[in-house]
């Protein structure tokens, strides 16, 4: 695919928004395409990616994990080493620089796990932009540390109580803000979904992941069988897969949140579950819907995968069979976090731990001369509370109790 602006990917995508948002999206499309053709813009972005975000991120051979799993060589793309701890910053830098170029002074964003919010707040602080982040109340509860970081960067975090009070409701609230504020405000959407041009724009800004991986594959002459990424909305996956989409190999594998089970509200598997064609949040794609088209509740141990829809390009690639999808349970993701911590000295965030778990299964089934690459899209420090509660509950709770006690004195 050589066009940067596509709007539709097969049946999926589009710009299904109320007229009040239309001028904002039309302007964004024109300005973004213009910026991408500007050498100055691209070199400014490259410089920020290098000097501020810490790119390129390493591709690490997971030698110990490979030995234990006894099959294909496992490589890990360490996106979690980026500034602010996840791949999110690639897209944030791109869009924030674009917003400045467009003369906007204020940024709004939605966040689920908080990683996109943290990256946005950090970049806004760096670039001198005002920042408001919408976050569901449920997500604030599970990811309190990220709220602390956002506020430290000077962002305003607005709790969203409507709907299910998770990521999808934060998107709704950000869209509402934007409908009345787009003259001076840019909506910095964090995933490769939403109305066009977002799916195209976010993919292009995230494709730096795949391009770096592609260079490493060539330099190290790796025989890569598969790339594995977790898929919530899908921004890390589409950026990682991008240079390989039009080729037959390697296999591209997306790991979705299998959650606690297959029942309604127990998971967030659209492609490997029961996603249905719908139009939500301004784009047409596969969503978890009830028989009346209402968006169903979702669950994942990782806030970043807990979203009822999937980016339109990934939906299309799934339908065409280019991307394979698999579901990974909460418990398997937790096991993967422990496995890579013990064997590789890496703490995966719970989101990419889903990809890690999928890779663990796959590696054992493949011969030793093959390689698979996992995108560790974020590191796990943000999950301290969830991990400690799940893995070492008693000690953790007694620590928390003593913290509270100590402070009350």
């Amino acid at each position: 695919m050589d066009k940067i602006y596509n709007d539709f990917f097969g049946d999926f995508g589009g710009r299904y928004v109320a007229e009040v948002l239309r001028p904002a999206l039309d302007e964004l499309q024109d300005e973004w395409v213009d910026a991408m053709n500007s050498k100055d813009f691209r070199s400014e972005l490259d410089l920020m990616l290098t000097r501020f975000a810490g790119r390129p991120t390493p591709l690490m051979y997971a030698e110990n994990a490979t030995r234990v799993l006894g099959g294909a060589k496992v490589f890990i793309k360490l996106e979690g080493l980026s500034n602010t701890g996840a791949h999110k910053i690639n897209n944030v830098l791109g869009q924030a620089l674009l917003a400045k170029r467009m003369g906007k002074r204020r940024i709004i964003a939605e966040t689920g796990a908080g990683q996109h919010g943290v990256a946005t707040a950090s970049v806004c602080a760096k670039l001198g932009l005002e920042c408001t982040v919408y976050m569901g109340e449920v997500d604030i509860k599970r990811q309190r540390p990220n709220v602390f970081w956002m506020e430290l960067y000077g962002a305003k975090v607005v709790p969203v109580s409507g709907g299910q009070a998770t990521l999808k409701d934060a998107v709704n609230e950000a869209l509402r803000d934007w409908a009345g504020s787009f003259k001076d405000t840019h909506y910095l959407l964090g995933s490769a979904l939403g109305p066009s041009p977002y799916p195209d724009m976010v993919r292009e800004f995230q494709s730096v992941i795949g391009k770096e991986v592609q260079r490493e594959i060539e330099q190290q002459k790796l025989d890569v069988e598969a790339l594995v990424a977790c898929v919530g909305g899908g921004s890390n996956a589409i950026g990682f897969f991008h240079p390989f989409i039009d080729t037959e190999n390697p296999r591209l594998i997306g790991a979705e949140a299998g959650g606690k089970g297959k029942g309604v509200g127990e998971h967030a598997s659209r492609m490997s579950g029961e996603g249905k064609l719908g139009i939500v949040h301004g784009y047409k794609s596969l969503f978890l819907l009830d028989e009346d088209g209402q968006v169903q509740p979702t669950h994942s141990i990782s806030a970043g995968l807990d979203y009822p829809g999937i980016g339109p390009q990934l939906a299309n690639l799934g339908i065409k069979g280019r991307v394979e999808f698999t579901r990974v349970m909460d418990s398997e993701a937790l096991e993967a976090v422990q496995f890579f911590a013990k064997h590789e000295g890496l703490v995966f965030a719970l989101e990419p731990a889903h990809a890690g778990a999928a890779a663990m299964k796959l590696a054992g089934e493949l011969p030793q001369d093959k390689s698979i690459i996992v995108n560790m899209s974020g590191r796990g420090e943000k999950d301290l509370f969830i991990l400690a509660r799940s893995l070492d509950r008693q000690k953790w709770y007694s620590f928390l109790r003593s913290e509270v006690k100590g402070n009350e004195k």
Partner: protein
């Protein structure tokens, strides 16, 4: 001359029976059109009041089939023109043609679907028109002139003009800019339904000579919330009468 009102209500809010009572009060109180919103889980273009009303209506068991049954019940006592307002996914997932057939059997006059704009409409405009239904295009104050031409060159009799900034329920003071916009829209010869967070009569009077009818929605929901033990019928009827 009396003010024409397109009265908005959410089906099944605050319950099925009370939404029927609301419809009766709006009609008895003298609305010209009834706009019945079919609630959706993710009403992106609506403000907090309508959003919460939609959430509660879904908890009260709203289903699309139930929405059409409610309209059937309204038809037993009134011939008022009814427009259905819904989001794209409600009609798309149900099947556009099937949904429109239900509108025809329910003697619905038209549809307002804000997130199916004319160039991403999934065939809604053509499919509605060929069944004698009125698809109402929505425009906003910020709509660019060439796009306004494109939207308004269609055959539709009505146009829904969102002259507030942003979402439903937020009020815009009417200024020179609004009047210029309405004058331009008026030159296309459509009947303008204007929504801008209206809650008082004097707001309607400020623009009544440029519009066909004023859309009032959030104001009725606030009345229902604050009705306490009073009958919803009485508070709603009193409210709409105060606007006309």
């Amino acid at each position: 001359m009396k003010n024409r009102i397109m009265a908005h209500m959410v089906a099944f809010y605050p319950s099925r029976e009370k939404s029927l009572e609301t419809a009766r009060a709006l009609i008895d109180g003298g609305c010209t059109y009834l706009e019945v919103q079919f609630p959706f889980s993710d009403p992106t273009a609506d403000g907090p009041y309508i959003q919460e009303a939609c959430k509660q209506a879904l908890e009260k068991g709203f289903k699309i089939s139930g929405g059409f049954e409610l309209i059937g019940d309204i038809r037993t006592f009134s011939n008022i023109p009814i427009f259905i307002m819904c989001y794209a996914n409600t009609i798309f997932y149900y099947g556009i043609e099937q949904f429109l057939e239900c509108c025809v059997s329910g003697q619905v006059q038209g549809l307002i679907v804000p997130d199916l704009p004319v160039d991403y409409d999934e065939g809604l405009f053509e499919k509605s028109e060929c069944r004698g239904l009125e698809p109402v295009p929505v425009i906003a104050q910020s709509t660019k002139p060439d796009r306004l031409d494109m939207i308004l060159k269609g055959r539709s009799e009505f146009v829904y003009a969102a002259i507030r900034k942003g979402i439903t329920g937020s009020f815009t003071d009417i200024g020179e800019e609004n009047i210029q916009f309405l004058t331009k829209v008026d030159s296309f010869g459509k009947k303008i339904l204007a929504g801008f967070g209206i809650s008082e009569k004097h707001q309607i009077e400020a623009i009544s000579s440029w519009i066909h009818a004023a859309v009032v929605g959030t104001a009725f929901i606030k009345e229902i919330i604050h009705s306490g033990k009073a009958s919803i019928y009485n508070v709603i009827k009193k409210k709409i009468q105060s606007l006309i």
